[in-house]
């Protein structure tokens, strides 16, 4: 455990009856970081957050906050405020009373309470709504009230459980920057649970990817994007072409992967794993498309075009290799201008060996 560790999970397991929600969590949350826990529903991400908040007790293992075990501490005795998906604002209190709630519970005097609430109402730009009922606010305004209510006690850590999922797309993007700026300015550790890759990757310093109660990978968004740690992560992110095969000695410096589609050179140094089965990923943005077989390229795969999709300036071309494997290529329109894009057309994809990543799992 290093000095800048705020929270640590040590062999934490959570079972509900015979259902295992979380199995063997071992990870640390660093002081002042924005950590996103990401996964599809039922992966154990919310249970992990609720254990940290003290709303669920771990079945096994130890959770430490600032070095002290907090397993047996009820939620009202820890400083782990949470922002709920439903926001859980008190409908019988007005905006100001909602924000003052946590201070009142701590026995802060009336004048001081008001002063501190005022600060956060200003900061969240909701001061003009202070006397309004919650039902009179818009979705974005409620979001700000929920944040102010949790942050008014200036905690070390803030837990957020998919707080943006109810907002429309434009507001979501706006609130993402509000959250990110807030985290940067206050230095409060944010733990943000989401199923949305774009939310996690745009805000977080580090991302934890969970599946079926297990952590698949922890890393910065770039690390996870460029070098997915497991096949699951690569498939979950959906931004790479995935090949499976046997590692063999390559022509260049790295190993090559022997697949049913051919032999592909990789930049990976995998001497220790030669002869074993491995998974290789190539980002769809690093996979290039050509009308004729490129003479100089070392990894070439003949494909047939099956579809295309345009989002803004980017085009995604769907292709099919022999054996029905789907290959995706993502490019700007100008990069594709001299390629005849017709459904059913025979084309070639190629990539640099250095852009092929061999997943480290066995």
């Amino acid at each position: 455990m290093s000095r800048d560790t705020l929270v640590s999970f040590d062999g934490v397991v959570k079972r509900f009856g015979s259902f295992v929600a979380v199995q063997k969590l071992d990870f640390e949350i660093r002081k002042g970081e924005f950590l996103a826990i990401m996964g599809s529903s039922g992966c154990g991400k919310t249970t992990t957050l609720r254990m940290l908040a003290g709303l669920e007790a771990p079945t096994e293992g130890v959770i430490k906050l600032s070095g002290k075990p907090i397993n047996d501490l009820p939620t009202w005795s820890r400083d782990t405020p949470m922002v709920w998906q439903s926001l859980a604002l008190f409908p019988f209190l007005n905006v100001r009373e909602n924000v003052e709630f946590a201070l009142k519970m701590r026995g802060v005097g009336k004048a001081e309470r008001r002063r501190r609430a005022e600060q956060w109402l200003d900061r969240m730009q909701i001061a003009e709504f202070a006397e309004r009922n919650i039902s009179q606010l818009s979705g974005g305004q409620r979001q700000r009230v929920a944040l102010a209510r949790s942050l008014v006690v200036e905690p070390e850590i803030l837990l957020l459980d998919e707080p943006l999922s109810a907002l429309d797309a434009a507001l979501k993007v706006r609130m993402q920057s509000v959250l990110k700026n807030l985290q940067r300015e206050t230095g409060i550790t944010f733990v943000y649970v989401t199923h949305s890759q774009s939310e996690a990757f745009s805000m977080a310093d580090r991302v934890v990817i969970m599946s079926r109660g297990v952590i698949e990978q922890i890393g910065t968004p770039q690390e996870i994007y460029r070098t997915p740690g497991t096949r699951f992560v690569a498939e979950f992110l959906g931004s790479s072409n995935i090949f499976q095969g046997r590692l063999v000695p390559g022509d260049g410096g790295g190993a090559a992967l022997d697949t049913p589609l051919g032999r592909f050179e990789t930049g990976a140094d995998a001497t220790a794993r030669l002869g074993t089965t491995a998974t290789m990923t190539v980002l769809d943005t690093k996979t290039h498309l050509a009308a004729a077989r490129p003479a100089h390229a070392r990894n070439v795969l003949p494909v047939r075009m099956i579809g295309e999709e345009f989002v803004g300036a980017t085009a995604t071309i769907y292709l099919e290799a022999a054996g029905g494997q789907e290959i995706r290529v993502q490019k700007g329109h100008d990069e594709l201008s001299d390629i005849p894009l017709e459904i059913g057309r025979e084309l070639f994809v190629y990539w640099e060996p250095g852009d092929a990543h061999v997943i480290s799992e066995a």
Binding site: G54, L55, M82, A88, M105
Partner: protein, 281 residues
């Protein structure tokens, strides 16, 4: 869209309309008319004389009964609400779904038997030689006079209102958003404090309506003050029967009845207004 009364909707609302007119509006109007009739030599005659109103409102015994009834009904509403809340809370939050269904069933059972029968059975418990005094006697205590006291009347009011109040409170507690309770805990609000800070404010509408029902039932009740309270102190319901019995004074009884209806309307209106305060419709 044009808002008009179609023949179709009229056909279906007609029975209710006729029922209301026949058994509510008409008797009420008759009661109002009756309160202005006069009685001479035990014979009522239609009239328009405010003498009944001035006579009844001029009597100290009327205002005494009015104050007593109001106080007893308010006390019953408060006591029933306070005693029922822990029961409703436990059923709503501490029981499994199956156990909760059983508890609701048990709360409905009292309605199977007549209220009068239940009040009579209390006499067997509360009388001087009743079950409670016999048991206390074995312990060398008592006997205590329990029957024909205000306390016994209150027991009767509880018998009348308790199951209904528990059910009404329960149904407002069940629908509280549980994440609000978690959120309060998460913001350092302890368990007991959460009941007062979050649970009661969230369930306010239901709790007020439940108390209102207890008030209404007790305010007009005749059985408990007579059979358990022994007719002392006089409540408005007792005053009505006394008035009709003494010299066929139905018009004066009508004055008491109309005063009761008016009072209940004011209380009900005030309570509902309070219950829904700050809520958008």
């Amino acid at each position: 869209m044009r808002r008009s009364i179609s023949l179709y909707s009229l056909t279906f609302s007609l029975p209710l309309l006729i029922w209301q007119v026949l058994f509510f509006v008409f008797p009420l109007l008759f009661l109002i008319a009756l309160s202005f009739w006069t009685v001479r030599n035990f014979v009522m005659s239609p009239d328009f004389d405010p003498v009944n109103w001035t006579t009844m409102y001029g009597r100290a015994v009327f205002w005494q009964a009015y104050g007593t009834t109001l106080a007893l009904a308010a006390a019953a509403a408060a006591l029933t609400s306070i005693l029922a809340f822990p029961a409703a809370y436990a059923i709503a939050f501490k029981l499994s779904d199956t156990a909760r269904r059983w508890a609701i069933f048990l709360m409905v059972i009292p309605f199977f038997t007549s209220y009068l029968v239940r009040v009579y059975s209390w006499q067997i418990f509360l009388s001087d030689n009743g079950i409670i005094n016999v048991i206390l006697g074995w312990l060398g205590l008592g006997p205590f006079t329990m029957l024909n006291t205000v306390g016994a009347t209150m027991v009767g009011y509880l018998t009348l209102g308790f199951p209904l109040v528990v059910l009404l409170q329960l149904f407002s507690l069940i629908f509280i958003d549980r994440t609000l309770i978690e959120a309060a805990h998460n913001l350092r609000c302890g368990r007991l404090r959460t009941v007062f800070e979050v649970v009661i404010p969230s369930a306010r509408t239901g709790l007020v309506i439940a108390a209102l029902f207890s008030f209404i039932l007790s305010f007009g009740d005749f059985v408990s003050p007579v059979y358990l309270g022994g007719g002392e102190p006089t409540t408005l319901s007792i005053l009505i029967t006394d008035t009709t019995k003494s010299g066929q004074q139905w018009p004066r009884a009508a004055v008491v009845a109309l005063t009761m209806i008016g009072t209940l309307m004011i209380v009900a209106f005030g309570a509902i207004k309070f219950a829904y305060r700050g809520k958008s419709t």
